[in-house]
Symmetry: C2
Subunit: 756 residues, 2 copies
């Protein structure tokens, strides 16, 4: 019913709009980092460590430097040696010691890639091997080799501990009628975007740095790059060509970025470093593996009583965004269902593995894998239907989670019902021989996430004499379709066709500030910002029309490109004509508006309390699959993915996001895995990595339970990440339904099923 | 005295600032149209008419089309045949008839230039020659061949006639004690900017047109291009790489632009057309030749009584901007000195010569050549010193010209005195043997010029967290240094170093509207617009500081990058820190401001009355030269160029403008000439054209008489064109002083002197 009303109420909102950047992408006109070619450009290559843990005794670059075509060879000594990363625990080029096989030891800039690669071979590095440690639990032992000796421990000094009340929690677990407990393990995967890590840096004779990069957060990137390289941030100009996908990988400032800058500082020429696919698979920060020990308690009526999670997170050799996924894991542990007692404790450990980044869902697929299996187990223990059990405990509007997250719009219950119905749920074991159905829910931020002091985004809206609308937004579309949503919002607010709207956001010198694209925030935050700017632009148009028509401004509106008087429909004029009339005269004006929107959310305090997002999204996913009992082969037949992401601005885009999310979730669950041997990725090709493709994709049925979020632009909430969150748990639950086997480790390969 | 005060009052204004775009230009990083290379780009070449006047009987493009590497061959029939130009009197590709040897008959797009040129040779065109007419006076005769038969006359239907009162005027000339009269002829010259006419057009499968061009007026260009090509203006995206100089040539929308679009529409590929130097000299619209018949009357006290000018302007085969220079000629005829009676009448004539554009000064050097010689002649007739005679008649503040132009700030008298003093003027014939001194004044618009319904410019100012200021302006810097002036204005207003300010203005999709760079308006109009936007940005910063300091906003200011309290100097903070404090918090803001400024001036009415500019500039130039009486060789020894351009924002830039103007004026006067033979340029190389270079340049002494214009940004007025305006007259007067020979025809070559 809501859907029907929307179609009538709005011109563009709720209608399927092809991505506005689709044309450039399918025709090949889109320019990615690798398409950037500047005069005198050099090609950079990086020499990495031969060992996972070693002391660097000597580096001799003289033979490399002597190679014709080599413009520069640098090691740590050629750099300001400023530490990077959230804990400032690594140098872009390592000095004294290497701690993983991805560690950067030296770098070369040369006239072409071949020469640069040849030069790498000519760099002589003498190492003294040290004993490595790869298992985080081993690394926690007192006698383990130390990754960072100066710290005296491999346990990272990060507090991800939340507890409502330890004593009360222990009491509940002692006395609860139903308790389930388990250990879950999740693995390394690579985000595998089409666009690999890439940067072109040009530091010129004035000390200006122009950098082309596929970061997701260009403004924070600029700040961080300035800090590491010593270049004045006021002289850094970040240009984002097309991103080529990112999925969280673009949150990290990579050592590569700084190295390209150092090479350019040394040569004063543009230096390009773009990862090959092999480099991407080996050296891009992977999603972080985790050991999750969890227990959940419920009463006999099916009410959840408490949840307790203890995690070990393998940061790898350094701390990047990976460990901070713990914040999302914590929020889901405490907030996915209504709970009054919860505890979360994640220990982050250094090892000699590659350091980890974040990836779509930011820890949520991992933790949900544990929680939602326990929900099924608890329901079984209580003799309840797992769907009913979930509905009993589902979040509802106006509840507050133990961490103080304030739930406003919430269609969780309806998501569960509709997913169950659409998949044909008729109770456990009813899917047919060899088949199983599994369900899992999710909870995620959907209204920004204040993980930095500002969660805002700025927008400029201009409408030219021909009615062309240009939206300059701080926000980055990393492939999610956020630019299209922004265009729709502006078109709707202005009352003009969406085809009239362009979105510009490739240059930090031009666009207003934005914290970056993460936490599914682009449509919500940038959308609200665009809405405010469009509203001001509309006011300016109506002000002109009011003078032209002699009609009070509040009787005027714009629809389908016409300014009209609501009280006298004969007063009507094309909006671009109104603009020209207001502009092309003495004392004229142009339509030029701007806005900055910072959502009403909070940074969490040291106790991890705070309403981090201005809205939350909810959903349920149901998976129907078939397991071949002889081979263990899993065939996913159908995935129903129901989402409350508020109002759906663009069903076409939203469906695409869900499709992509489900496929990514299935890859994470069933096929994709970075296999590490002594800290080194040994399957660094897409063939060996087994990237899940459209060939393997099952029927996917997106369902949108459209609430109208009070803070969201036209009631929308974030949707970018959520498609992949419940998938691993739903698949595991479906396998249990089909086979009676409970799989607590990812990926779930046929042999894991047979082995059980 | 004024200068001294300024240095104290301002941080940046009045200080010599190197051009902010200088670095890119001297290092070669600047990208001009010819540097644009797009994937799949084709190269376009144009076939022009073999005859100055002919009927096209047949065009056969089949052999050209068959040439491998040719992507498209087009003639008028492949285009929408919409007429272009101010009078809509030409097709981009001619049909039926050609009217000059530059007429475009066919065009080719091919994979490279060589193939395109080869294809041109393969196009067969059969012509029927028609009798041509090259002399405008011949063309006015009843039996002259008609350039446009359908008009029935070669006299263009344009009214450039102004008269205070015909009867009264005739009476004055009959009765006046002193009258001089003469005929003056000025010639064809080419603007010869470093950047030749160039365009890269890409019409894509969606119907979007992206066009890279070195126009001076990108927004009007877009409108005109849409009209001619039929492409929706809302889908046209004009990008201006570095202009490479323009001097008025970039005002015209050239047939080339439309042809590149047609070739791209046919091929759906990017098409580049960039003129060679030969093409530029032959086919770029030259400065328009004119026959000027003028008489001026004065009374015995040396008061001017009346001036009467009758002109014949040779438009060439079509009407572009050239004939509209008559408006400026008229304004100077009536307004250079205080006058109550004036008449101006310009007849524009079609011939089979190349059509004419406008060039720096827009008619003013031409008409001043006549007026200022007559001033000397009248002074001589009255037995007065020519300097004193000029001072008697000079404009003063608060006078109104016969056309209703309201003079506000005016330092004309001081310009005359200081120029005379600096050149060492001691009266006629006192310069020494074979030497002469000549003086001439000028009058020009300096506060915009409302020749279009809007004379406005928009600006966006952003200040980022690191204090970087980005100014997005509609204005185009065609090489005059206007971007630097804008940066200074914004820096001064914000109280930050100018090195912190960047100016962005290369893309119509991003920048707000501006009418274009002409009439020396960029610094005045765009500067005022930038000033308003900067003022708003400053207000936003001070508002934040007011909260931080607990100090009322009106007690706060910014200077040298610090926000401080005037009442309590201990309250002080770096402006970027203030911005970060205001931004990086819940409910934060960013600094984002915009403004549109349309100067308080008027379009002239059908009687040519109206205050076309918000300010006027004045000046006097004095030339010391030496004439070799045996060879007629003229050696200019020194040029003193005194200007009232209001407050000088950047002495370095202003001096550069004056130097460039004087050199251009000397070239126009003494060496440069497009020699036409039956409508064809026969000296189309820079060697034959005799472009005046730095080698020939004399000592140039710029003097700035700094008034403080009430409307100008920090009191500034326009200065871009004026250096070249009085030069031809001053040189002619100096030659007369040296030789007693009165030269009334340009260029003044040695043989013209000997011939006299």
């Amino acid at each position: 019913m809501l859907e029907q009303k929307l179609v009538e109420r709005y011109s563009t909102i709720g209608k399927p709009i092809p991505k506005i950047d689709g044309f450039e992408k399918v025709t090949g006109y889109a320019r990615y980092v690798d398409d950037i070619k500047l005069p005198n450009m050099l090609y950079g290559k990086i020499l990495r460590s031969r060992y996972p843990h070693a002391r660097i005794k000597r580096i001799d670059t003289s033979r490399a430097e002597a190679l014709p075509g080599v413009a520069a060879v640098i090691t740590a000594k050629d750099t300001p040696m400023r530490r990077m990363g959230i804990l400032k625990d690594q140098l872009p080029l390592k000095y004294g010691k290497v701690r993983s096989v991805r560690d950067e030891v030296a770098a070369v800039a040369a006239v072409d890639e071949e020469t640069a690669l040849e030069a790498l071979d000519l760099i002589e590095v003498e190492y003294e091997e040290l004993e490595p440690v790869f298992d985080p639990e081993e690394a926690m032992k007192p006698d383990a080799p130390l990754v960072h000796e100066e710290l005296g421990t491999n346990v990272v000094n990060l507090n991800f501990r939340f507890s409502t009340d330890d004593e009360e929690l222990e009491r509940i677990f002692r006395e609860a009628p139903a308790v389930v407990e388990g250990e879950y393990r999740v693995h390394y995967v690579n985000a595998s975007p089409l666009g690999t890590i890439g940067v072109v840096a040009h530091y010129d004779e004035r000390g200006h740095l122009t950098i082309y990069t596929n970061t997701q957060a260009p403004f924070l990137y600029k700040r961080d790059l300035a800090e590491i390289t010593g270049v004045d941030p006021a002289k850094i100009h970040v240009i984002q060509p097309e991103i080529g996908g990112a999925f969280g990988r673009g949150m990290d400032l990579h050592p590569t970025d700084a190295i390209a800058v150092f090479l350019s500082i040394k040569t004063r020429k543009p230096v390009k470093i773009v990862f090959s696919r092999r480099e991407e698979l080996e050296y891009a920060p992977p999603r972080q593996p985790a050991i999750i020990r969890m227990r959940t308690a419920a009463d006999r009526t099916g009410r959840l009583l408490a949840r307790d999670a203890k995690l070990i997170l393998d940061a790898g050799a350094y701390v990047s965004w990976g460990p901070f996924d713990a914040r999302v894991m914590m929020a889901t542990t405490t907030g996915l269902y209504q709970l009054t007692h919860a505890r979360f404790d994640a220990t982050v450990v250094y090892t000699n593995n590659p350091y980890c980044g974040t990836q779509r869902g930011a820890g949520n697929p991992q933790i949900t894998f544990a929680i939602e299996q326990q929900m099924d187990e608890l329901a079984e223990e209580l003799g309840m239907d797992p769907v009913e059990f979930r509905i009993i405990n589902a979040n509802k509007p106006n509840t507050v989670t133990p961490q103080g997250m304030i739930i406003t719009s919430c269609g969780m219950e309806e998501c569960i019902r509709r997913a169950a119905q659409a998949i044909g749920w008729r109770g456990r074991g009813s899917a047919g021989l060899g088949k199983g159905i599994g369900l899992a829910c999710y909870f995620h931020v959907g209204g920004g996430a204040r993980v930095y002091r500002s969660d805002g985004c700025g927008t400029i809206v201009q409408v030219d004499d021909f009615g062309r609308v240009t939206v300059i937004t701080g926000s980055t579309d990393i492939g999610t379709g956020s630019d299209t949503a922004i265009a729709q919002i502006v078109a709707e607010e202005l009352g003009v066709p969406v085809s009239r709207v362009s979105v510009v956001n490739d240059d930090t010198a031009i666009r207003p500030w934005d914290v970056g694209t993460h936490a599914s925030r682009a449509t919500f935050v940038a959308g609200n910002s665009a809405l405010l700017a469009a509203r001001e632009a509309k006011r300016q148009i109506l002000e002109t029309a009011s003078q032209l028509f002699g009609t009070p401004i509040d009787e005027l509106d714009i629809r389908d490109g016409y300014v009209y008087s609501r009280s006298d429909p004969s007063k009507k004029m094309e909006y671009d004509k109104v603009i020209r009339r207001g502009h092309l005269r003495e004392g004229g004006r142009v339509i030029l508006a701007s806005a900055f929107y910072d959502p009403p959310n909070q940074m969490q305090d040291e106790r991890w309390m705070g309403n981090i997002s201005a809205a939350y999204t909810f959903g349920a996913q149901a998976v129907l699959l078939e397991v071949d009992e002889e081979t263990g082969t899993i065939r996913v037949l159908k995935v129903v993915s129901a989402h409350d992401a508020g109002r759906i601005l663009n069903p076409l885009g939203a469906e695409g996001q869900v499709h992509g999310g489900v496929v990514m979730g299935l890859g994470y669950t069933l096929s994709e895995e970075l296999v590490l041997d002594r800290g080194r990725v040994v399957n660094a090709t897409l063939m060996d990595y087994l990237l899940f493709t459209s060939h393997e994709a099952p029927e996917i049925v997106p369902i949108f339970v459209e609430t109208e979020d009070p803070q969201g632009p036209y009631g929308a909430k974030g949707l970018g990440e959520t498609g992949c969150i419940p998938t691993p748990a739903a698949v595991a639950n479906a396998i249990y339904d089909a086979t009676g086997k409970r799989l607590r480790e990812l990926p779930i390969k046929p042999w894991n099923i047979l082995r059980k």
